[in-house]
Amino acid sequence: MQLRLRGDSILKILLAAAALFIIALVVTLAVELYRIAAPSIFQFGPNFLIGTKWKVNTNQFGALPFIYGTLVTSAIAILIGFPISLGVAIFITEKLKGHQTLGYSLGIIVDLLAAVPSVVFGLWGVFVLIPLLREYLERPLNHYLGFIPLFAGRNPSGFNFFSAGIVLAIMIIPTMSAVSRDVLNAVPNSQREAMYSLGATDWEVTQKSVLPYARSGIFGGFILGLGRAFGETMAVVMVIGNIPNISVNLFSSGYTLSSLIANEFGESSGLYESSIIEIALILFAVALLVNVVARLLLWRMSRGLQVKA
C-alpha cells in the first residue's frame, strides 16, 4: 500500500513537472522578450506602433511599415487561401461523402503542402513563382489596370506585397482546410438529412444547414490560418523585397514584422536590437491573441458537439 501511493505520487509529480514546463516556457518567453525590449519601449512608448521611420544611424525606430506589411500580405493570403481551403473541405466532406478512402487520400495530398519547409517555398518563390507572376499576372495587370492605385507603379519586379501574399496563401491552405475538414466532418448527418427531406439541393444543404452549424469551427480555422500568415518568416523574407514601405500599391516592395527580424537582427545592437525585440514582442502579443481566440472557438465547437451527441 505504501509503495503504491509512493509510485503514484512520484509519477504524478514527474508528469506535472512536464506540464508546468510548458507554462513556465510561455511566461519566461514573455518576460525575457520584455526585458530586452524595455529600452525601446521606454524610449518610444506607444509611438513605436505608429512611427513610420526606421533609421539606424539616427536611432529612429517605428514599427508601422512592418505592421502594415504583415497585415497586407496576410489579407491577400486570406482572401485567396480561405475560399480555396473551404472549397477543398466542402469537396472532401460533402461531395465525397461515402467515398471514405478517396476523401482521405485527397486530404493527405492537400496536407502534404504543410510538409514543404518554408525555406523551400521561399526558394521556389524566388526562382519559379516570381518570374511566372511577374510575366503573366503583374505586368499585364499593371499595364491594363495601372490606373487603379493597387496595381500602379512602373514595371513590377515581382519582389513585392502581392507575391508574398500569394506564397502565404499557398502555405496556409493546408492549415485552414484541415481544420475546416475536421469541423465539417463533425456535423451530424441528421442535420443534412433534415434539409434534404425538405427537397433542398446539395448546395442548399451545405449552405443552409452544414456551414451555419460549423461556423464557429470554420472561423477558428480561419484565425489559425491568419496566425500562421502573421508569423511566417522565411518564405516572406525571400520574396517581399525587404524595404520599409507603406503604400497601397501591391506591386511595390515591403517588409513584415518577422522578415525584419530575420533580416536585421543579426547585425543589430543597443537600441536597434532592443527595437527589433520589441517587434518580436508585438508578434508574440498578436500570436497569443490570435491563437487564444482560435482555440476558444474550436474548444467551444467541440464541447457543443459533445453535449449534443
Binding site: I22, V120, V126, M238
Partner: protein
C-alpha cells in the same frame, strides 16, 4: 449521396439548379487550385534538384563561391545532430505533459498547460528563435548546436504533447478500470497499460514533430547560425540544411543556387517520407494529429 442534376425533381427551379451546379464547379476549381502548387513545387524541386546530387555533393564540405564542386555534408550532419538533440529534450517533456493532459484531464494545471500548449503550436517560430538567443546565446556568447537543438525542441514539445494526449484519450476507460480492479497501482496502469495501448499515437506525434523540426529555418538563424565545417563540439556555430538553402538561394552564385535546389530535394524527400509513413500507416485514426500540423 452524390446527387446529379437528373436526380433533382422537376419542381426544382432552373435557378436553383444553376446555383447548385455552379457551386459544384467552384468547389472543384478550389481543389485544383490547392493541388496545382503542390505539383509545381514537387516537380520543380525534383527537376532542378536531381542534377545537383552526386557523391561529392553528399560527402564533401562547401568550397569557395568561385570554385566548382563542393558539398553539403556539414549541413546534413548539423541538421541530424540538432534534430536529434531536440528529440532528446522534447520527447520526455512532450510525452510527460501529454500523459498528464490525458490522465489528469480534470486538473486545473492540465487545463491551463494544455491550452498554452495549443497556443504554442501556432506560435511564430522566429520569436521562439529570438527567445533562445536571449536565453542561451547572449549568456554563452556563442552560437551553438545546443542552442539550435533547444530552439527546435520548443517546436516539437507542443506537437508531441498534443498527439500523445489525444491518442491516450482514445484508450478505453474500461482498460484502466480492469487493470486497477486487479490491484495494479495507478502508476503501473498508466505506464504499462495505457502507454502501451496508445504507443502508435505517441510514435505518430514524435515522427510528425521530427519532420516539422527538420524543416525549420527561422529558429536556427540566431541560435545555431551557420558554418562550413563539420562539428567538432556542440558549443560552436553549426550548419543546417535549411539555413544552407536560405543562404545559397540568395547568394546569386550559380553553383550555390544549384546546390540549394539539391539540398531542398533531400530535405523534401525526408519530410515527405516521414509524413507519408505516418499518414498511411500508424496515424490513420488520429485526426487531431493531422489538424495540428
Amino acid at each position: 449521396m452524390v446527387t446529379t442534376e437528373s436526380d433533382l425533381p422537376a419542381s426544382v427551379s432552373l435557378q436553383r439548379k444553376i446555383v447548385n451546379k455552379s457551386m459544384t464547379i467552384l468547389v472543384l476549381v478550389a481543389v485544383v487550385l490547392a493541388i496545382v502548387p503542390l505539383i509545381l513545387i514537387l516537380g520543380d524541386v525534383f527537376i532542378k534538384g536531381a542534377p545537383a546530387i552526386n557523391l561529392t555533393f553528399l560527402t564533401a564540405k562547401p568550397t569557395a563561391p568561385n570554385l566548382p564542386g563542393g558539398g553539403i555534408a556539414p549541413a546534413i550532419e548539423g541538421s541530424i545532430v540538432m534534430v536529434g538533440l531536440a528529440a532528446l529534450i522534447s520527447i520526455p517533456i512532450g510525452v510527460g505533459a501529454g500523459i498528464f493532459f490525458s490522465e489528469w484531464s480534470t486538473s486545473k494545471l492540465s487545463t491551463v498547460s494544455g491550452f498554452l500548449n495549443d497556443v504554442l503550436t501556432g506560435f511564430p517560430t522566429m520569436v521562439l528563435g529570438l527567445f533562445v538567443f536571449i536565453l542561451l546565446v547572449l549568456t554563452t556568447k556563442t552560437y551553438s548546436a545546443y542552442a539550435g537543438g533547444f530552439a527546435l525542441s520548443l517546436i516539437m514539445i507542443p506537437i508531441i504533447a498534443r498527439t500523445t494526449s489525444e491518442s491516450l484519450k482514445l484508450v478505453p476507460t474500461t482498460l484502466r478500470e480492469a487493470s486497477m480492479a486487479l490491484g495494479v497501482p495507478r502508476w503501473k496502469t498508466v505506464l504499462r497499460i495505457v502507454l502501451s495501448t496508445g504507443k502508435n499515437g505517441l510514435l505518430t506525434g514524435i515522427l510528425l514533430a521530427t519532420a516539422r523540426a527538420s524543416g525549420e529555418t527561422a529558429p536556427l538563424l540566431f541560435t545555431a547560425a551557420t558554418s562550413t565545417i563539420f562539428i567538432k563540439n556542440l558549443s560552436q556555430p553549426t550548419a543546417s540544411l535549411t539555413i544552407l538553402i536560405y543562404n545559397y538561394a540568395l547568394s546569386s552564385v550559380p553553383n550555390w543556387v544549384t546546390q540549394a535546389w539539391g539540398a531542398a530535394l533531400i530535405l523534401l524527400l525526408v519530410m515527405l517520407a516521414l509524413n507519408l509513413l505516418v499518414k498511411l500507416t500508424i496515424g490513420r485514426n488520429l485526426t487531431r494529429a493531422r489538424m495540428e500540423m
